[in-house]
Symmetry: C2
Amino acid sequence: MTGDLGLDRAFHAKSIAIVGVSRAEGHSAPGYTGLMFLRLLQEAKFQGRLYPINPKADVIRGLKAYPSLTALSEVPDYVIVTVPAALVPQVLQDCISAGAVDVHICTAGFGETGEEEGKRLESVIRDIALRGGLRVVGPNALGYHVPSDRMQMYSQVVLAQGPVAFLSQSGGHCQTYVRQGPSQGIGFSKAISYGNALLMDSTDFLEYLATDPETQIVGMYIEDVKNGRRFKQLVTQVNPEKPIIIWKGGLTPSGARAAATHTGSLAGDRQVWEAFFKQTGVIKVDSIDEMADVTMTLLRLKPSPGGRVAVWGGGGGNSVAAGDVCAQEGLQVPPLSNKTITALREFMTIVNQSVVNPLDGGSVFEDLLTLKRALDIVAADPAIDIILLHLGVGYAKWFSAEHVAGFKKCVSGFARDNPTGKPAVVAVRDEGKAGEAEEFVRELREAAITTYSSLERACRALSRFAQYHRFRAEMGASAQGAGRPEPTYRE
Amino acid sequence: MTGDLGLDRAFHAKSIAIVGVSRAEGHSAPGYTGLMFLRLLQEAKFQGRLYPINPKADVIRGLKAYPSLTALSEVPDYVIVTVPAALVPQVLQDCISAGAVDVHICTAGFGETGEEEGKRLESVIRDIALRGGLRVVGPNALGYHVPSDRMQMYSQVVLAQGPVAFLSQSGGHCQTYVRQGPSQGIGFSKAISYGNALLMDSTDFLEYLATDPETQIVGMYIEDVKNGRRFKQLVTQVNPEKPIIIWKGGLTPSGARAAATHTGSLAGDRQVWEAFFKQTGVIKVDSIDEMADVTMTLLRLKPSPGGRVAVWGGGGGNSVAAGDVCAQEGLQVPPLSNKTITALREFMTIVNQSVVNPLDGGSVFEDLLTLKRALDIVAADPAIDIILLHLGVGYAKWFSAEHVAGFKKCVSGFARDNPTGKPAVVAVRDEGKAGEAEEFVRELREAAITTYSSLERACRALSRFAQYHRFRAEMGASAQGAGRPEPTYRE
């Protein structure tokens, strides 16, 4: 497919029909059932009309049920299909008869099974959809999740709206990201789970997102791409203006074997993909955690190609580890200038501390005026682009609540207002006690401090962030806009 | 130093003198003070005699205080020195006068500062210690932590005794490990923080541990080694019988810069260290987490050089990720045999599931008889060495408490009794909610299931475990004993 897909209608549906809604949940474990989608949409207070389709029911969850799509009094903007695979061809015929165009096939059991029957059925539904002009997302997918329209497809989700789109061949990864994104300040324009990609593939959705004013950053989980050349062209064009972050699943033989049975994908050649990332400048990640960390960084930090950090922690062993981790993750930790060292030595002892970089200076965290002074001195060093504070979870316990509140105010204020414009971020160091680190991370984020849940995660995100902006600068793209939520891309 | 160091006296001290105990804590932040050591030993109910030394006090924390070491009525087995650096030479003279031999210099501010005065002082105390025949641990260190003797040097610690020794140039890393080890079933024979290694270095302590019947596994955090040749010889000799796990700090330029100011170490050449690990078969790790995971694996799993895993999870995207993660971390995920696949297909649908490896089969976890049957079938496959169950934290919530209890019983029973002797372990998949994963990990460990807090951590530990046993098998070492807590090594 190319050109305007007309997907706005589905993304902002005013009416949704769900085909295959049973009257009661049948399983002890959660499955993706029509009843579940109905419940989720009701719980999210979806503002449009909902039509459960079940030939044997009159009312389901308080709503009138219909025997088939053709019995509806309006053409639904979006149809969710959850009937068994063998019945899907008939439902697609009904869609065509009823005039519906946007169809989400949730049902699995097609080509991805590797069995003849599944492959045959997939071919049948492809033919029906093409002939009928249906815009199918799926099969074996969870479709469109659109917070702005309260189209909720996942449970235990905060409906956070924002400038991030996620395209995923895995419904599970989609669920993970929309569940955990909001805790990192990530809101979604659309999260799209497209499974086997019967008709519409990542390229098609990316084409839509490229001109979608609600989307400024695009994350993707892909197992394969049907038209590699067109995909690469489009990505090359979009990435400088709207950063693209890709987790490519199935880059190893065992991962590829799983991908074949997951979405029927041929997950492809590692070398081809490595060349792809190098040539396009697309940000490569290996998990949802990494995707969320890079996205948070793009959303919060001013664009900058510099990856030279000053790491400031406490404890000698921790400082050595910090130096090693930063370097291993691709960040530079340059020595500080003599001027900086001399200025720090005026108020920092070097017994049990250190003013080389990594800095080992617990005493600085004990006094807020000293902290502010130290931040100013280090930020003024021309060798440094980013200040990375490495804090043990114990910090919040050693000091009084007033001190900790003052610390948060000092760091968030410095990050927002310091005249050099250099970012100051925090990485939390776990100290082995259940839940403590997550709690401390949450508190710091609530205080508007860009916070990572480990040094490794901070370094990975910051180095990818810097690498993206270096690539972009080298490509000569406009230095404005990218990574910030202003709509700038137009074809 | 070589030969019998006579360290038993210090490790099992009946009397400890602490030099430099103030009457009240002076700082808001925790520092390593004499008063802190006194408090920790009292809180741990240390059974020997404690002598606070302070010329200006009569009683501290309910104990009679003495003006100097020479005023004691007995020779203390262990002396902890916490006075400022400039006063340490005099205290060492007092140790000699009083006849004390084992001295822990906690004080920092020596060679590691890089300053002339610190270097000079370090040279002075070295001369005094050598002339007086003192066995000094430190300076800039936290000394000996011995759970069996309730010699506790760290706060918030469970005093878990066990077959693991830890040697560390960083007191902070020592603290981290002794704090978090017990949650993974790791108990310690000795944890030794030796800082600047004035006289006794890792090699000396390792020589002691080699013949220590209480120690079966040795972990080390090192920044440099003073006699590389002797160290390598000793490690080569010990490692086949008592596995040695080393975290080498300062392998990158920025890590090495921190190491120089931390313990005055020349952290050395990455290539030299890579050759060292390859030639000795010592297990290389990059953090305390990795060290704890490998140690837990050595303690719990039967020695086996096989690293071929069957990964069993739920969700297509998760399976692809599992296949990729295992392969990236050095584990093989081989295809299952046709016999295995046919047997699984008898009761597993392949709609939304998969019987390739990685296995994607949530339905198996829903019924305990099916689970047991599936475990038996997969364990019988000759291509598989280890069964790795990959469970989302949600598992404990989807099912009833009875079902989850049955699951734990099934997996722990299978791991203990299955006729193939192949291990079954669990890796927990975080689903983004604070504290949940840690709680689920804890519950599974309490049910005697070998549990890792992520798939990455499981794979890293299992691949190092298999690699160690392969190296050992290739070296022709006895196949019995290593990695299990029976005392087998004698010089």
